[in-house]
Symmetry: C2
Subunit: 332 residues, 2 copies
Amino acid sequence: MSVTIKDVAREAGVSVATVSRVLNGSAAVSEDTAENVHEVIARLGYSPNFLGRNLRKRETRNILVIVPYIGHSLYSDIIKGIQDEASNEYDILVAAGYSTRDTELRLLGMLTNHTVDAAVMLGTRVDAQTLDALADRYNIALCSESIEGSHALTIMIDNKKAAYEVVNRFIAAGKTRIAFVTTDETIIAPSSTDRLAGYLSSLTDNHIKVREEYIFKRNYDYTCGIQAAHELMRQSDPPEAVLCISDLLAAGFIKGCNDIGVKVPKDVQVCGFDNISLCEMFTPMITTVSQPAYRMGRTTARRLIDSLKTGMRSYGTEYLEYGIIVRESASI
Amino acid sequence: MSVTIKDVAREAGVSVATVSRVLNGSAAVSEDTAENVHEVIARLGYSPNFLGRNLRKRETRNILVIVPYIGHSLYSDIIKGIQDEASNEYDILVAAGYSTRDTELRLLGMLTNHTVDAAVMLGTRVDAQTLDALADRYNIALCSESIEGSHALTIMIDNKKAAYEVVNRFIAAGKTRIAFVTTDETIIAPSSTDRLAGYLSSLTDNHIKVREEYIFKRNYDYTCGIQAAHELMRQSDPPEAVLCISDLLAAGFIKGCNDIGVKVPKDVQVCGFDNISLCEMFTPMITTVSQPAYRMGRTTARRLIDSLKTGMRSYGTEYLEYGIIVRESASI
DNA sequence: GTGAAAGCGCTAACAC
DNA sequence: GTGTTAGCGCTTTCAC
């Protein structure tokens, strides 16, 4: 059996109320009493049971972060930002939703069952209607990835604008045969859709005809990048520049080019998305769009905690500035 | 105000006990009543408050996993294993300790304040004495990384044996000038110590003199791998094989070799540790020791949950089999 | 400055 | 099969 506030009170010869006051500094307690209570707490090894406290206070001081999976450096940076901003006010708990709607919903249940006070989602399969219903009753924020049609608080970069700018820069550098590597319809994320829209806009605005055979859709991982290179670069009229919606795809694309004797960046320029640590380790180093992950995390946490404190929920999208990190794979 | 079990009871015209029974299936309830209660629950959008439940039941069905940081694919795989094994019985919460003793201790406080039922640590800065004191009162397991002198339940590979075997294989392949790249004293982890011990043992057992100038100590990341290559490979009598205690170091080492015109694996063979996804993306692909991360996670969760159920804590170390994944950077 | 007591939402023992 | 009630550990009025 663990030691409770009652045990401390009895042992210290005071009431539980006094122990609670010492614990929380919620009201004046004489110095002698406080000292005595502290001594007893230490001697008994007492640690307050947060279930009792939270039940009574109607708050847990926990914020849940739901990620698709744990091992992605983008998420890692965002979480660090959330953590640093929340610092001592809240504990940050991370859970993996594995891009599964049911799992994500089960995790969001931690809001309704009062395990956490707020939730941040970094990419999700939940639909706008379900999420908005929850967001009306609980503190929820989306970070880095939106949900189409949702009015939930969202912190992200303007993906369309970023893709638009990269393609514009390719064109300014004299390229006209520009390809785009993305995911297919089964795993489409709003960010991908936006990036594709930016790509298309730039081509159109620059009077370059969109070529279906230059748009490769499959999955977002390394292997698909390899396949993309094999298929795109073996065409009779291959692209001279490629924008990939993830750095993993870009890395795979470069690898795929190596396989078939195509040189990067000489024969084809490659740009990724996200600026994960791999970009600097790869040969050639990968040019990419960087999301200000850490700042996105901080901003999200700040907005959420402000809502928590004021009781006023906030909605809508806040865009943060992206960057274009020029490395070896594309000089744009 | 959120709706409670009382509201449901009143609305359904039954007692709170009956609602609780319907919720938990803990006792027989007539079909009519159950149906009625379910209807009211749905209509009111009731969700049980776990704080009340957990307080009463003295359990939370949450397991905490403390990682040094979030974005490491080894941790990701271990956590997936833990998750799958715990499946519906427990929710897995992940928190980052950032290799900071104080942060880790604060997180372990979730055991004492009854926020979680058990904790898994994947590498920690907490000392044996402090941890063992906690492990005597709570369910704690270490996974992949031990604490020297601790008797806490630990699931890991035999790091010494693995390093020993790699070096043996280098020697069998005719190499005698074998280097070792590891971390320095400020960030030493037991796994690193064990791997160094295996390296030294193999040399000694094979009657090869240990050369201090072949042991490079700094940090465990990519940049240090580059530095290691620059310093080790520019010696007058450079090594012809290198074992690095992380894949990141191995990748950096290869990059560093490229910088100065040393060919891998022709001039020097390189082996890493952990088998992270980077190994297959790198050129050349990296030979490495693989930890059975997913199985380690499952085993850890199983052992922990068994303890939780039986109330019998378990202690000691369980070794799982490692593998040596031969790729391009070393043909051993 | 301190104590008594109510009550947060829930489960389970007991009674019927 | 169902209701009444005690109590999990804590905070917070309200008295004094």
